[in-house]
């Protein structure tokens, strides 16, 4: 039993060391990765790149350098407020007179991170009144869930509001909803221009739009192509009211759902992976600037207002494992363990290899060192085979752990 208890302690120590030593190493030596900020100029039909540094630099794809002021002038849709103040805003662009109201109406920004998808989701939602006739949206005092039916729970009493629940359950049922819901997505906040309710996926992977209009349910079943399944839906509230949401399919296709017509439009984006990529979509009067950040490169795709591909740009940067500090890390540590992952809100045991096999050398050296220690203590190799296996596999973590919880009593 003592042997077993010691092995457990060694394992625990390895876990602790695999979390803390890499963390301390990166805190001491990690250098920031400078990612380019790429935007498309509607004046030059080319990309302009801001690189963070001391100072920031601005350039185009041909390597021409610009001052900050010149850079801002090349991107009038992004910097129109500054250009207005400076008196440098062009009167017309592409033959179109520049109207501030129209520019503002067409501006939009959406951002998605994998952790938006990978994390605990609430199971209860407030259903706002979509046509209250009031200037501001009011927070309801009940929340709904969709299990074997729709249930509205009064937050003050924690009791089901039966009449309202039956009304909304019947509305969904008569529209062919297959209970329960597997996904409910919306904008559960009063800080939005208007309420458009929720997009709901049922247990048969059908998509529905549900909102409350003058205390009555509004339900619309949305036709989907055969076999299309969504892994994430991100609702938006843009001033131009062109679409309700971005929808990511299980094949990592990006769709938009047009407002009122309920048409699914597939964006011509192929380089996206919702599990690991950050996505930013800037909309303006002429284009959509779609930026997809991967671990080691960025893809920028420009779409016109009909969602057709206009131009694209790609730029890479070295992975952290290719930096000097990353290479040294790879020689010391076989892997690192963390309870947190930048692509998830869940706590879990996340193992990540250090890249390369440089650590094998150190593992072998440490096995040799431990053999020397054992020889000096005249210890039998047989009694220490498990310890040597720990060192061979886990390297520096195992070496420290077995010397912290020493095996010498079992000689």
């Amino acid at each position: 039993m003592e042997k077993l208890s010691r092995i457990i302690l060694v394992l625990v120590a390895i876990l602790v060391l695999a979390m803390t030593l890499p963390m301390l190493y990166w805190m001491a030596f990690e250098q920031p990765v400078s990612k380019p900020f790429v935007l498309y100029s509607c004046l030059d039909d080319d990309f302009f790149i801001m690189r963070q540094g001391k100072p920031n630099t601005f350039e185009d794809t041909r390597g021409n350098k610009y001052t900050r002021e010149k850079y801002e002038q090349k991107l009038p849709m992004m910097n129109f407020q500054q250009l207005m103040i400076s008196g440098l805003m062009p009167d017309t662009i592409r033959g179109k007179a520049m109207d501030m109201h129209e520019i503002g109406l067409n501006r939009s920004f959406a951002r998605f991170k994998p952790e938006d998808m990978n994390g605990p989701k609430p199971a209860l939602f407030p259903l706002f009144e979509s046509q209250s006739g009031r200037a501001n949206i009011g927070m309801p005092d009940d929340f709904f869930r969709i299990t074997w039916r729709v249930e509205f729970l009064d937050a003050a009493t924690n009791k089901i509001r039966e009449e309202k629940s039956q009304l909304f359950s019947a509305a969904l049922y008569h529209n062919g909803f297959a209970f329960p819901a597997t996904r409910i997505e919306g904008l559960p906040t009063t800080r939005k221009s208007c309420d458009e309710g929720y997009l709901i996926v049922d247990s048969s992977n059908q998509l529905f739009h549900l909102k409350m209009v003058k205390d009555k349910p509004y339900v619309r079943k949305i036709s989907l192509p055969e076999g299309l399944r969504f892994k994430h839906i991100q609702c938006v509230d843009f001033k131009d009211k062109k679409y309700y949401a971005y929808l990511f399919s299980e094949k990592n296709e990006i769709f938009i759902l047009t407002q009122d017509e309920y048409e699914l439009v597939k964006l011509p984006i192929t380089a996206f992976n919702a599990e690991s990529c950050d996505l930013k979509i800037y909309g303006d009067l002429f284009n959509y600037n779609v930026t997809i950040d991967h671990e080691d490169h960025t893809d920028v795709v420009i779409l016109d207002k009909d969602y057709k591909r206009v131009k694209s740009y790609q730029e890479g940067w070295p992975l952290i494992s290719e930096h000097t500090e990353g290479k040294i890390f790879g020689y010391i540590f076989p892997a690192q363990l963390s309870l947190e992952d930048p692509n998830s809100k869940y706590i879990n045991f996340y193992w990540k290899g250090s890249g390369g096999i440089g650590w094998v050398l150190l593992n072998l050296i440490l096995v040799g060192v431990h053999l020397v220690i054992l020889r000096r203590r005249n210890a039998s190799l047989q009694g220490h085979a498990v310890d040597l296996a720990f060192v061979a596999v886990t390297g520096i973590y195992g070496f420290i752990a077995i010397n912290l919880f020493q095996n010498k009593f079992f000689d």
Binding site: M1, E2, L4, S5, R6, I8, L9, L11, V12, A13, L15, V16, M19, T20, G119, P120, P122, A123, L124, F125, P126, M139, P140, D141, D142, F143, R145, L153, D154, A155, A156, T157, N158, P188, T189, L339, E340, K345, Y346, I347, N348, F349, L404, F405, F409
Partner: protein, 222 residues
């Protein structure tokens, strides 16, 4: 003889265990007094909304209470055994040394488990008055690792107290201190869900850790 050993353990921990349980109850009562106050002044809808969408964890104050219970029970149960090496008297009984230790340890952990279960039952019962089952479930997923942290603290403190060498006590404290932190991260509500099976396994495995330092203690390692 087993009964006598259990009675001896009970004598050591009884006041502290009961005191901790009462304090834990008072902590939970405070939590729900605050919930009731917020319901009265801000409304239940706002309170639910803050939990569901704004990341509020109404039970956050409770985070270190189970941990402190584990620390307390381990100290009061094992520290007296190290004064004048009293544990050696127990080892002279006509019983297997490891069995005696495991009995002591099981009794301490069992008492702690009872206390925690009582606290959990009160917490869940009061939660169910104010919140629907989904929110109660998310709260349970969030607080379970804190209770596991209490057990881990109990097992580690027992290991450290029984360890004869001060150098190793310090090193075990470092490992134990870092290890406990994996149970008390501050993520969003219910984020510990996928990690609970792994953390439970580690907690159960840690229950026999004491035998290692007790072995070193018996053999006179300094």
């Amino acid at each position: 003889m087993w009964k006598s050993i259990i009675y001896k353990e009970w004598l050591k921990i009884r006041f502290f265990l009961i005191g901790f349980t009462i304090l834990g109850m008072m902590g939970i009562a405070y939590l729900f007094l605050k919930v009731q106050h917020e319901f009265t002044f801000s409304g239940g809808g706002n309170f639910w909304y803050n939990i569901l969408f704004m990341g509020m964890q109404f039970f956050g104050y409770f985070k270190f209470i189970p941990l402190s219970g584990g620390l307390l029970i381990a100290v009061v149960q094992y520290f007296p055994e190290t004064i004048d090496q009293r544990i050696k008297l127990t080892f002279h009984l006509p019983l297997k040394e490891n069995n005696v230790l495991l009995m002591m340890h099981s009794f301490g952990a069992g008492c702690l488990l009872l206390s925690y279960l009582l606290l959990m039952v009160v917490f869940i019962s009061l939660s169910a008055i104010y919140f629907p089952s989904e929110m109660v479930y998310d709260s349970i997923v969030s607080v379970i690792p804190w209770f596991m942290a209490g057990f881990v603290a109990y097992f580690f403190v027992a290991l450290i107290v029984m360890e004869p060498s001060w150098l190793y006590r310090i090193m075990y404290s470092l490992v134990g201190g870092f290890f406990v932190t994996i149970y008390v991260k501050s993520p969003v509500i219910a984020a510990y869900g996928p990690a609970i099976p792994g953390l439970s396994l580690l907690t159960i495995l840690m229950s026999v850790a004491l035998l290692f330092s007790a072995y070193r203690f018996r053999k006179g390692e300094m």
